[in-house]
Symmetry: D3
Subunit: 69 residues, 6 copies
């Protein structure tokens, strides 16, 4: 299984908040950082994921914004 994206992390789901059309999934990635994914509720149901599940976290490099504070 190979993904055409530069960012690939392992995440563990810590919470899921379902709305009417969209939902928000919180994940823990290594070193106790938190990440979030937003998708349709329909995608969530297709994924069939729940709290505690391990998932692959994919982000295309173009969607990563750098800021110099």
């Amino acid at each position: 299984m190979k993904y055409g994206a530069r960012n690939q992390l392992q995440g563990k789901i810590t919470s899921i908040k379902k709305g009417d059309v969209m939902c928000q999934v919180k994940l823990e990635i290594p070193s106790d950082s938190t990440m979030n994914s937003v998708m349709t509720v329909e995608s969530l149901e297709d994924l069939g994921i729940k709290e505690g599940d391990n998932v692959k976290v994919i982000v295309k490099a173009i969607n990563v914004l750098l800021v110099k504070e």
Copy 2:
């Protein structure tokens, strides 16, 4: 300084590859994971970043894809 995005990590730049229009920046985030950002060369020059610099890494949650392998 507050960002309207759910994913905010600290990164340290490990390499920069410049193309004609676009460039690719590699970063190390906590726990030795690697991330990548693609932006215009012009944005890179405005940022004024180089290897070893610390930057904020921002990703909107909608751009995070989850995969259940």
Copy 3:
């Protein structure tokens, strides 16, 4: 403060519509144009913004679509 994005405008918030997971923020940019941002309600609360506030509006150039009518 430097952003790795080619589009950076100043905006003033004119209205906020909160949904269950996502929200929509309307902004006025110079010359009376209107822009909109969609984010999670959680991001909105972290930003702590309200009508009348000034914010920076950031868009990566890759997300700008040109159409020749």
Copy 4:
């Protein structure tokens, strides 16, 4: 002609920088602000645009990041 996107501005092309695969187009929008679009060179050629042309500038609201400085 109707677009399913919340951000629609009028722009006038001020410069085009062509790379091997991608290109960067600079635009002037009302009140002398500058915007940028990145697309494939192939898309640029299909658009058939050049400096001085007027184009529609479309951005989905989800791709607009707000920052409170």
Copy 5:
């Protein structure tokens, strides 16, 4: 009418699911494949589309992820 995007398909709307802020539109593209678009409810109302209508489906190539299974 020319679009600065590499992916342009014809779609016919098969269903619309409206939420509070966002909505999800299902489309049939040639050869009975299904596609989905998520936008704000406000964009949907501006588009003025309903089941059975034909629309143009536009996706910038950068937003297309390839996976080798």
Copy 6:
């Protein structure tokens, strides 16, 4: 294998154009339509794909723009 995205098509690679940082991959999807994906050259090399290979084409619904002509 499950993806948290509403658009999942099967594609066959018809050509690859490599630039310095980015590359463009053309695909044929069912019913002779053409699609394109842009990614980093590095991602292409990791994928290890070539003309004639079959790949999964993934697009999040939020990145699909509808236009009513």
